[in-house]
C-alpha cells in the first residue's frame, strides 16, 4: 500500500466503510516501507508487528488506524529511540512524548521511526549513524534535514503524514526539498516533553504531509497545553482545518527583499509566481525589509550550539546508551564513550557551543547572540504590525547532491538562512510546494505572528489549491 494518492479523509472513509481494515493497513504499510526503503532509507526502526489501537472509533478520531511516521528524536515508550546517534543505538524509552500520548489517544497507528541527522543537527540527513536518506525525486540528492526521513517517507508515499522537529528549518527545508507541506508551529504550541533536546529555546515539533489539510488534522491532535512542558502556552488551540478553503482577499502579505534577493533564476521565478497568484486573488503585497537577516546564521549557530552543548552532556555512558569498552577510570568513560558515540557534526557543535559559553567568550558570543536575537524578533514584530503573513522562498536552492556539501560545514549552515529566523523569533512557519526547479521541488515559505498558525494554513491551502503540486509524482522512484 502506498499513500501517493491518499489523504487522511480518504483513508478515514475507507476504514469507516470497511473497504480496508486497520490491521491490513498497518501490515500493508510496513510491507511497502520495507520495499521502498531499499531505495530511500527513510527509516531507522520499522515495527514489523505494527498493530492499530483497539476499539477504533473512526467517526470520532480522524487519525484512527492511520499510520503516522515519527521522527527518531521523539520518545516512544517501548520503541527504540536513537536520534540517529550511535550513542543511543540501544536506547529503549520507558515513557511517551506528549505528542505520542496524544496520537495514541487519537488512535493513530505507529509503524516506526524515521531517519534524521544525528540529534537533528544537519540539513541533509547525511549525518546519521544509520546512513543517509535519499530524495524520492532523485535518489542522488539529499532529502534535506534534519527531518529528511520523515519528509522522504511522506513524499514517497510510505505514510500519509509524519512528525518532524524544527530547530532551524528541519521541517520546512526537507518539506521543500521533497515537494510536500511541512509546518513548524509557534514555539510553545506543541509540547516538547519527549523531544530529545537540541536547542531548547528553538526546538519545536511539527507535522509534514503531502496535503495541507492532513497537517492541520495532525496538529489539531498534538497541539495544546501540557503540564510536562512549562514553555507550552495555555492558549486555546483553534481547529486548524477551519482556516482552509478561504480566500485571501485583503490579506496583507509581506515579502522581505532580503529573502527574494537570496534567490535567482528559476527559483526566483517559481516563488514570484506564487506571490503573483496571491496578488491576483486580492491579497495586498508589501515589500518589506528584515535588516538583520545577515546576522541570523551566526546568531543561530551560537544559540543552538550553546544550548546543544549543555543538552547533550547527559549522554555520558553512565545510565543508558553507548558506553565505551576498556575504560580505566571515570574520565575515560566520559571521553571515550562520547568520542566514539557522537558523530563529527555533533562534536563540532558541542565544541562550538562549549566555547561560546566559556567564561572568556560568553559576553562576546552567547550574550551578543542573545542580544541580536532580540533585534531579529523586533524586525518581525514591526512587520507584523502592518502585515498578516510574511512569504518568500524556503530555501535558496533545491536539493543538492549527496556528499556535495557534507565536507563544507559553513556552506551547509548557510542552507538554513531563510528558515532560521522563524525559530529565533518563535513564530509559526510552513513550507508548501511552489513548483519544480531543475526537476526538483521548491518550497514557498509562509510565516505569521506567534500563535497565528491559522493564517499560515490559510495561505498554504490557497497555494496548494492553486498549483495542485500534490498531483505530481516523485520522479526518483521508478526502476
Amino acid at each position: 500500500m502506498n499513500y501517493l494518492n491518499e489523504n487522511i479523509d480518504s483513508l478515514n472513509k475507507k476504514l469507516q466503510d470497511g473497504e480496508i481494515t486497520a490491521e491490513d493497513l498497518a501490515k500493508a504499510t510496513v510491507k511497502n516501507i520495507k520495499e521502498t526503503d531499499k531505495k530511500i532509507n527513510a527509516w531507522i526502526t520499522v515495527d514489523e508487528d505494527a498493530k492499530p489501537a483497539e476499539d477504533l472509533d473512526f467517526a470520532k478520531n480522524k487519525l484512527a488506524g492511520i499510520p503516522i511516521a515519527i521522527k527518531d528524536n521523539i520518545i516512544t515508550n517501548g520503541m527504540k529511540t536513537t536520534a540517529a546517534s550511535h550513542i543511543l543505538y540501544n536506547y529503549m524509552p520507558v515513557y511517551d512524548a506528549t505528542v505520542i500520548s496524544k496520537l495514541k489517544k487519537a488512535q493513530a497507528t505507529f509503524v516506526g521511526k524515521t531517519n534524521m541527522d544525528e540529534f537533528a543537527m544537519g540539513s541533509s540527513t547525511e549525518h546519521s549513524y544509520y546512513g543517509a536518506t535519499h530524495n524520492p525525486w532523485n535518489l542522488d540528492k539529499v532529502p534535506g534535514g534534519s527531518s529528511g526521513g520523515s519528509a522522504a517517507a511522506v513524499a514517497s508515499g510510505e505514510v500519509v503524514a509524519a512528525l518532524g522537529s524544527d530547530t532551524g528549518g528541519s521541517i520546512r527545508q526537507p518539506a521543500a526539498f521533497n515537494g510536500i507541506f511541512g509546518i513548524k508551529p509557534t514555539y510553545g504550541r506543541v509540547s516538547r516533553w519527549g523531544l530529545i533536546a537540541f536547542g531548547s529555546s528553538l526546538d519545536q515539533i511539527g507535522v509534514m504531509s503531502k496535503r495541507v489539510k492532513d497537517s492541520a488534522e495532525v496538529l489539531n491532535v498534538i497541539a495544546g497545553p501540557d503540564e510536562h512542558d512549562a514553555t507550552v502556552s495555555e492558549k486555546e488551540v483553534p481547529d486548524f482545518t477551519s482556516f482552509l478553503g478561504q480566500d485571501v482577499k485583503g490579506l496583507r502579505v509581506a515579502v522581505p527583499k532580503e529573502y527574494m534577493d537570496a534567490v535567482d533564476g528559476e527559483m526566483h521565478d517559481v516563488i514570484q509566481k506564487q506571490i503573483d497568484v496571491l496578488k491576483d486573488a486580492g491579497a495586498i503585497i508589501n515589500e518589506v525589509s528584515l535588516p538583520h537577516t545577515k546576522y541570523v546564521v551566526p546568531t543561530y549557530y551560537i544559540v543552538a550550539s550553546s544550548e546543544a552543548s549543555s543538552n547533550l552532556q547527559r549522554y555520558d555512558g553512565i545510565r543508558y546508551g553507548y558506553r565505551a569498552k576498556d575504560t580505566k577510570n571515570l574520565l575515560d568513560v566520559y571521553v571515550k564513550s562520547r568520542s566514539e558515540g557522537f558523530g563529527e557534526e555533533v562534536k563540532r557543535r558541542i565544541m562550538l557551543g562549549s566555547f561560546a559559553l566559556s567564561a572568556g567568550a560568553y559576553d562576546e558570543f552567547f550574550k551578543k547572540a542573545a542580544q541580536v536575537r532580540t533585534l531579529i524578533c523586533r524586525d518581525f514584530e514591526k512587520i507584523f504590525e502592518e502585515n498578516d503573513v510574511i512569504v518568500g522562498p524556503t530555501t535558496t536552492e533545491p536539493a543538492f547532491g549527496i556528499g556535495e556539501e557534507v565536507s563544507d560545514p559553513i556552506k551547509m549552515y548557510n542552507n538554513d538562512l531563510l528558515t532560521i529566523s522563524a525559530n529565533l523569533a518563535g513564530i509559526p512557519a510552513a513550507s508548501v510546494p511552489a513548483g519544480l526547479v531543475d526537476g526538483m521541488p521548491a518550497g514557498f515559505q509562509i510565516m505569521a505572528k506567534r500563535f497565528d498558525e491559522g493564517n499560515v494554513f490559510k495561505v498554504a491551502d490557497f497555494i496548494e489549491r492553486n498549483n495542485k503540486f500534490y498531483e505530481k509524482t516523485p520522479t526518483g522512484m521508478e526502476d
Binding site: W193, T231, Y315
Partner: protein, 476 residues
C-alpha cells in the same frame, strides 16, 4: 604581629517541599536507593524540568525573615559539569538573578551586637549521591537528585570563629522558625561550607581564601576555623604563602587537611535555563507571604518575657528549637501556667530528652498533658512529689495525667472534715510532742506531720495539715 581574619559562610538548606524541585518524585530522608526517582531525575532523553513553585514561597519566607531584598524577576541558569551524581551534567541553579540579595541578621557575641550581611540567596537543585564500593564499583543513588535547596551566602563579615558560630546558630533558628526547612545537619537538610582568609592587621587587601566544605556540625565549623586561623598565621609568620585551596576538617585530630589546590576558577559555562521561563514575583504575593509568616523567634521571645513574665534565660532555652517553642506555646494555650510550664519544660522534659537522646517530637508526652498536670499542681489536686510520678508515667507511656491520678487515687487529701479529726487524734496520742511544741521545739510539728502523712500514705496536703496542726497545738 597581629592578624585579622575574614570569614564567609555558604549555608545550604533543604527546602521542605513534598516533591522535588523539578520532578514529581517525593522528597524524604532515608529511602532505599533510587526508589524516589523518575525519568526526570534520571535525565532520560527528552525530559523537561517541571518547576515546583512552592520553592519560591519557602525561599521568600527566608528572604523576608533575613531582611533580604527580593528581586522582582528571578530565573534559573544551568551550571555545567560532569559527574555521575549529576545526571543531566548540569545543575539548575540561579546564577545571574538570584531570589534575593542584601539581607542581614543580628548576632550577639561576647555581649556585643553585630550585624552580619547576607550577600544573596538562591534556589537550586541538589545532586544525587555517589558511594564507592569495596569491589571496585561505584554506585549512584539519585533519591537526593532534585531535592530543592536554598543557598544562603553571607558577606565576609565575620572576624572570628565565635562570630561564625553565632551567625550559624541565629541563621538556623530564623530559618527553622519560618518552617521552610528542617535544618537538621545530621540528615543533611542544613549544610555548611566556610571560607577564611587572614591578613596582617592594618593591611587593606584580603588574604588568600581557604575553603572548607561539608562540615557536619556547628562545633566542627568553630574548631576548623580556629585551627585554620592559627595554621595560616604560622604559614605567614614563617614566610610562606597561603594556597588557594579546599581543606577538610579531620574530626579525630581536630586539624584541617588539604584536599585540593585551586588553579583558577572552574568554568561552569553558566547560561540561562531555556526550559523554565523567568518568574515575576509580584509584590502582592510577597505581602501575602509576609502576612502569613510564622511568628519569628524574636517575637516569641518578646512575648515570653514581656507577656508571660518568664526569665530571659528560660525563654532562650525554650527558643533553641522551634519544636520546643511550639510545645511550650501549645502547653500554655492549653491552660498551663507559663512560669511553671517553662520550668517543667526546661528541667524535667529536657532532662528526659538528654537522658534518652531523643527529640521533643519523639516523646509521648503531649503539651495538653503537661498543661493538665501543671493545672493539678496549681490547684492543689496533686503535690509536686506526686507530680513527678505522674510526669514519669505521662512521658514514658503517654498516659492522661488526670485519669492516672484518679485511677491511682493520687488525689491530694485537702478536706478539713477528714483531716481535722485525724489531726486531733494525732495530737491526743502524742502528749510529748505537745510538750515539746510548747517548749519551742519546732521539730515537734514535723514529727506530727509525718504521722499524718504515714496514715494517709502521702496523700495529705502538707499545707493544710500544717495549718490544722498549728491551730490544734495553739489551742492546747
Amino acid at each position: 604581629m597581629n592578624f585579622k581574619s575574614t570569614i564567609g559562610l555558604e549555608v545550604h538548606f533543604e527546602l521542605k517541599t513534598k516533591s522535588k524541585i523539578f520532578s514529581p518524585s517525593p522528597v524524604s530522608y532515608g529511602a532505599e536507593a533510587n526508589t524516589e526517582t523518575n525519568v526526570i531525575d534520571w535525565a532520560m532523553p527528552g525530559v523537561l524540568p517541571r518547576l515546583n513553585k512552592d520553592v519560591y514561597r519557602l525561599g521568600i519566607m527566608v528572604a523576608l525573615a533575613t531582611h533580604s531584598h527580593i528581586l522582582p524577576v528571578t530565573h534559573f541558569d544551568r551550571k555545567n559539569y560532569f559527574y555521575p551524581d549529576n545526571p543531566k551534567a548540569y545543575q539548575i541553579t540561579q546564577f545571574f538573578q538570584p531570589l534575593a540579595r542584601d539581607g542581614y541578621i543580628e548576632v550577639e557575641v561576647r555581649g556585643k551586637k553585630k550585624r552580619i550581611g547576607i550577600h544573596e540567596m538562591h534556589i537550586e537543585e541538589d545532586a544525587g549521591k555517589n558511594t564507592h564500593g569495596a569491589n571496585g564499583y561505584s554506585y549512584v543513588d539519585l533519591n537526593r537528585q532534585g531535592v530543592p535547596l536554598l543557598e544562603v551566602v553571607s558577606e565576609p563579615d565575620m572576624e572570628d570563629p565565635e562570630e561564625a558560630y553565632a551567625y550559624l546558630t541565629k541563621l538556623r533558628q530564623i530559618v527553622q522558625f519560618t518552617g521552610a526547612s528542617d535544618v537538621k545537619m545530621e540528615e543533611g537538610s542544613m549544610r555548611v561550607d566556610t571560607n577564611i582568609s587572614i591578613r596582617p592587621a592594618g593591611q587593606e587587601k584580603l588574604g588568600t581564601k581557604v575553603e572548607m566544605k561539608n562540615l557536619n556540625s556547628f562545633d566542627h565549623v568553630r574548631r576548623s576555623l580556629a585551627y585554620e586561623e592559627k595554621r595560616q598565621q604560622q604559614v605567614l609568620l614563617s614566610g610562606g604563602r597561603v594556597q588557594l585551596s579546599t581543606r577538610r576538617f579531620d574530626e579525630a585530630t581536630g586539624k584541617t587537611v588539604l584536599e585540593r589546590v585551586k588553579e583558577g576558577d572552574a568554568d561552569y559555562r553558566y547560561f540561562p535555563e531555556p526550559d523554565i521561563a523567568p518568574y515575576h514575583i509580584k509584590q502582592s504575593w510577597i505581602d501575602e507571604i509576609a502576612e502569613s509568616l510564622p511568628e519569628s523567634p524574636f517575637e516569641r521571645r518578646k512575648r515570653y518575657v514581656e507577656e508571660y513574665g518568664i526569665k530571659e534565660y528560660d525563654a532562650d532555652v525554650i527558643l533553641q528549637t522551634k519544636e520546643s517553642s511550639d510545645f511550650y506555646d501549645a502547653a500554655v494555650a492549653a491552660g498551663a501556667d507559663p512560669t511553671l510550664a517553662a520550668n517543667w519544660l526546661n528541667t524535667q522534659v529536657n532532662g528526659y530528652l538528654n537522658e534518652n537522646q531523643v527529640g521533643i517530637a519523639d516523646i509521648k508526652l503531649t503539651p495538653e498533658h503537661l498543661a493538665e498536670m501543671i493545672k493539678m499542681i496549681k490547684d492543689g489536686t496533686i503535690s509536686s512529689k506526686i507530680a513527678k510520678k505522674v510526669f514519669k508515667e505521662s512521658i514514658e507511656n503517654g498516659t492522661d495525667p488526670k485519669k492516672y491520678v484518679e485511677d491511682k487515687g493520687m488525689v491530694q487529701l485537702s478536706d478539713v472534715s477528714v483531716l481535722g479529726p485525724m489531726v486531733t487524734k494525732v495530737v491526743d496520742d502524742n502528749p510529748q510532742s505537745v510538750e515539746d511544741f510548747k517548749n519551742g521545739k519546732d521539730r515537734a510539728i514535723g514529727f506530727l506531720v509525718g504521722q499524718i502523712m504515714k496514715q494517709t500514705r502521702g496523700k495529705a496536703n502538707p499545707k493544710v495539715v500544717n495549718q490544722l496542726l498549728n491551730k490544734e497545738l495553739q489551742s492546747r
